[in-house]
C-alpha cells in the first residue's frame, strides 16, 4: 500500500513536472536556445545527488567506490561546468540589451 502510494505520488510529480516544463520552456525565445540547453545540462547534473546518497553504502568494494566516484565527478562536471558556461553566454547577451545610447557604457576593451 505504502509503496503503491509512493509510486503514484512520484508519477504525479513526474507528469506535472512534464507539463510545467513544456509551458516554461515554450516561452524561451529561439535566440536563447543554446544557453537553455547548457542550463538544462547543468540542471540534469542533479543526478549527482544519486551518487551522494548511495556512496555511503558502497561498503568495502573497490569497484563500487570507483564507479560512484566517477558518477559524482560526472555529475559535478555537469553542475559546475553547465552553470558557469551558461552564465558566460548569458552575460554576452546582457552586455548590450539596447542598441542605442547606453551601449557604449557596457562595451569593453
Amino acid at each position: 500500500m505504502i509503496l503503491a502510494s509512493v509510486l503514484t505520488t512520484n508519477l504525479a510529480i513526474l507528469v506535472l513536472a512534464g507539463f510545467i516544463g513544456f509551458v516554461v520552456i515554450s516561452k524561451v525565445p529561439n535566440t536563447l536556445h543554446t544557453p537553455l540547453m547548457s542550463g538544462t545540462n547543468a540542471i540534469h547534473g542533479i543526478v549527482l545527488l544519486g551518487g551522494l546518497l548511495i556512496v555511503g553504502f558502497s561498503g568495502n568494494g573497490t569497484f563500487n567506490k570507483i564507479i560512484l566516484v566517477i558518477a559524482i565527478a560526472f555529475g559535478t562536471i555537469n553542475v559546475v561546468g553547465g552553470f558557469l558556461v551558461t552564465d558566460r553566454m548569458l552575460e554576452m547577451f546582457k552586455a548590450k540589451p539596447k542598441s542605442g545610447g547606453d551601449g557604449d557604457k557596457g562595451a569593453k576593451s
Binding site: 509503496l3 503503491a4 512520484n10 510529480i13 513526474l14 513536472a17 512534464g18 513544456f22 516554461v24 520552456i25 524561451v28 525565445p29 529561439n30 535566440t31 543554446t34 544557453p35 537553455l36 540547453m37 547548457s38 542550463g39 538544462t40 545540462n41 540542471i43 540534469h44 542533479i46 543526478v47 549527482l48 545527488l49 551518487g51 551522494l52 546518497l53 548511495i54 556512496v55 555511503g56 558502497s58 563500487n64 567506490k65 566516484v69 559524482i72 565527478a73 560526472f74 555529475g75 559535478t76 562536471i77 555537469n78 553542475v79 559546475v80 561546468g81 553547465g82 552553470f83 558557469l84 558556461v85 552564465d87 558566460r88 553566454m89 548569458l90 554576452m92 547577451f93 546582457k94 552586455a95
Partner: protein
C-alpha cells in the same frame, strides 16, 4: 507487499528534508522562467544555481553514512575538469561542449543504476517498480552517454562528420540491440536473474545502440541529435529520481526531458525532417552524392560581383538584413560582420540579422556567436519576424547560408526541402550572397536564389570577403 528490507533502504529516502528538495526544484522552475528574455536570463541561471546548491547541501547534511573522502574526491575531480572547460571553451565549440556535458550526465545516470544493482545484489528485496525505473535509467543513460560522446567526436572532428552506417541493415541492427537491452532488463526486473553479467550485457547493448544511432547521422542533422540526447539524459535522470524517491531529481529530470523534446521537435520542423527519418540516418552528410550530380545542371546564369560593388550597393541602402549561416561560423567571420555593421550604421543604414532556427550546429548557436561579437540582442530577428521584413529590405546579405534561403522550399514540390520553413530572402529588393563556390550545401540541393536576376554572388572566404567590403565602405 511487505516493507522493503534493509538492503534497499537507501533507495527509499524519506526525510523532512524533502522540503528542501521542493524549494530546490521551485528555484529551478523560477530560474528557467528567467530565460524568457535576455535581461532576466543571467539572474534566472543563478537562481537555478542556488536551487542546485540547496539540493546538494541538503543531501550532504541528510546522509549519515561515511565515505566523505570519496565524495570530496568526486566533487574535486568534477570541479577540476568542469570549471576550466566552461571558462575556456570557445563559443564556436559550444555544440561539442554541450554534447560532452550531456554525455557525462548520462554516464552518471547509468553508473548510479549500476551501483544500485551491485549494492542490492541484483535488486533483491527491492520493489519491482524501483527496479524497472532503475533499469530504464541505466539503458537510456548508457545510450545518451555513448551517443553524446560520438556526437562530440563528430563535432570536434575527431570522427568524420559524414554519415557512417551499415547501410540498409542499420535499422535492423539498431532494433536488435534495443530488443536485446530491453530483454536483459525484463529478465532482471522479473527476478529471473540477479546476475551482473546480464546487467552488463544490457549496458553494452545500450552502449552499442548509442553508437549505432549517432554514427550514421550527418553534420547537418546534429542540432536534432544533440537536442534529442539532451531529452534522453533528462528522462533518465527523472527515472533515477523515481528509483531513489527523490522529488528534486524527478522534477529536474522531467523538465530537462521536456526542454530537450521541444528543441528536438523544433529543429526537426525547421529542417523539414521527421525525427524517425533522422534516427534512421544516412542524410545530411557534407558530401551528398546527389548534390555533386545536380550542381551545374541549372540552366540560369549567375551574376558575380566584387567587394567594391557590394560596398556601394550596401552604402546606398536604407535597410540591410544580414543572413548568417554555418559558413560564417566556420570562417569565424562574426567579428568581421560586426565591424561591417558598425560601418553601415555610421552611414545611417538600418541593419538587422535574420536567424534561421538551424543556423549553426545546435539550437540558438548563431545567436551566441553574434552576441559574442557584441551584436545587440534587439538586432537578432527570429525567422517569423525577419520574414515579415524582407519585403521592405533593400539589400539582404547572405553569408555562408544556403538551404535555409532556398525558395525551392516554397515553390518546388519536387525539391527534397519542399515545405521547410525558410528565410524569404528573395522578397528583398536585392541580394548579395557571399559563398566560397557554387558547391551546393549540406543537403546537396541547388539553390534557385543564386540564379535570381536580383542576386549577386561574391565568391570567397566569408571573413576576408566581409573585411574587404568593410574596407571599401570606409573609403567611399
Amino acid at each position: 507487499m511487505s516493507a522493503p528490507p534493509l538492503a534497499s533502504s537507501f533507495l527509499q529516502s524519506t526525510s523532512f528534508l524533502d522540503v528542501l528538495y521542493i524549494v530546490a526544484f521551485a528555484l529551478f522552475i523560477q530560474g528557467l522562467r528567467g530565460l524568457s528574455g535576455p535581461t532576466t536570463a543571467v539572474r534566472g541561471n543563478r537562481i537555478a544555481g542556488v536551487g542546485m546548491a540547496i539540493a546538494v547541501i541538503a543531501t550532504l547534511l541528510n546522509r549519515n553514512e561515511g565515505n566523505w573522502g570519496l565524495i570530496v574526491l568526486g566533487i574535486a575531480l568534477g570541479t577540476a575538469v568542469g570549471v576550466p572547460a566552461a571558462r575556456q571553451v570557445k563559443m564556436t565549440a559550444m555544440p561539442q561542449m554541450v554534447a560532452l556535458f550531456n554525455g557525462v550526465g548520462g554516464g552518471a545516470v547509468f553508473l548510479i543504476s549500476w551501483s544500485e544493482f551491485r549494492l542490492t545484489h541484483g535488486y533483491q528485496g527491492v520493489a519491482t517498480y524501483i527496479t524497472i525505473f532503475s533499469l530504464f535509467a541505466a539503458i537510456v543513460g548508457s545510450v545518451s552517454f555513448w551517443g553524446s560522446n560520438i556526437a562530440f567526436g563528430k563535432l570536434q572532428e575527431i570522427i568524420p562528420g559524414r554519415p557512417i552506417s551499415l547501410g540498409s541493415s542499420q535499422q535492423i541492427v539498431n532494433l536488435l540491440l534495443l530488443i536485446l537491452a530491453v530483454a536483459a532488463g525484463v529478465d532482471i526486473a522479473s527476478g529471473g536473474t540477479h546476475s551482473q553479467g546480464i546487467f552488463i550485457v544490457m549496458l553494452v547493448c545500450a552502449a552499442l545502440l548509442g553508437n549505432a544511432v549517432v554514427f550514421p547521422i550527418g553534420g547537418a542533422d546534429m542540432p536534432v541529435v544533440i537536442s534529442m540526447l539532451n531529452a534522453f539524459t533528462g528522462l533518465s535522470a527523472a527515472a533515477t529520481g523515481i528509483a531513489l524517491n527523490n522529488p528534486a531529481l524527478i522534477v529536474a529530470g522531467m523538465i530537462v526531458g521536456a526542454s530537450g523534446s521541444i528543441l528536438t521537435n523544433l529543429m526537426a520542423v525547421a529542417m523539414n525532417r521527421s525525427i524517425p527519418a533522422i534516427i534512421a540516418g544516412g542524410f545530411g552528410g557534407t558530401g551528398a552524392v546527389a548534390g555533386a550530380e545536380g550542381a551545374g545542371a541549372h540552366a540560369g546564369t549567375v551574376k558575380s560581383t566584387s567587394a567594391a560593388d557590394a560596398a556601394i550597393q550596401l552604402a546606398y541602402a536604407n535597410r540591410v538584413v544580414i543572413v548568417p549561416g554555418s559558413g560564417m561560423a566556420v570562417a569565424q567571420a562574426q567579428h568581421a560582420v560586426r565591424e561591417l555593421t558598425k560601418e553601415l550604421e555610421k552611414r545611417g543604414v538600418e541593419v538587422s540579422y535574420a536567424i534561421h532556427p538551424v543556423a549553426g550546429r545546435m539550437p540558438g548557436h548563431m545567436n551566441v556567436l553574434l552576441a559574442e561579437a557584441d551584436v545587440p540582442y534587439d538586432q537578432l530577428k527570429e525567422m517569423e519576424e525577419a520574414n515579415q521584413e524582407f519585403g521592405r529590405t533593400d539589400v539582404s546579405l547572405v553569408i555562408g547560408a544556403n538551404d535555409v534561403t532556398n525558395p525551392a522550399a516554397k515553390t518546388n514540390p519536387a525539391s527534397p526541402i519542399y515545405g521547410m520553413p525558410i528565410l524569404e530572402v528573395n522578397d528583398s529588393h536585392s541580394v548579395i550572397v557571399i559563398k566560397r563556390s557554387m558547391n551546393p550545401g549540406f543537403a546537396g540541393i541547388e539553390n534557385e536564389l543564386y540564379y535570381d536576376p536580383k542576386t549577386a554572388m561574391l565568391f570567397g572566404d566569408a571573413k576576408s570577403a566581409v573585411s574587404e567590403i568593410t574596407a571599401e565602405l570606409s573609403q567611399l
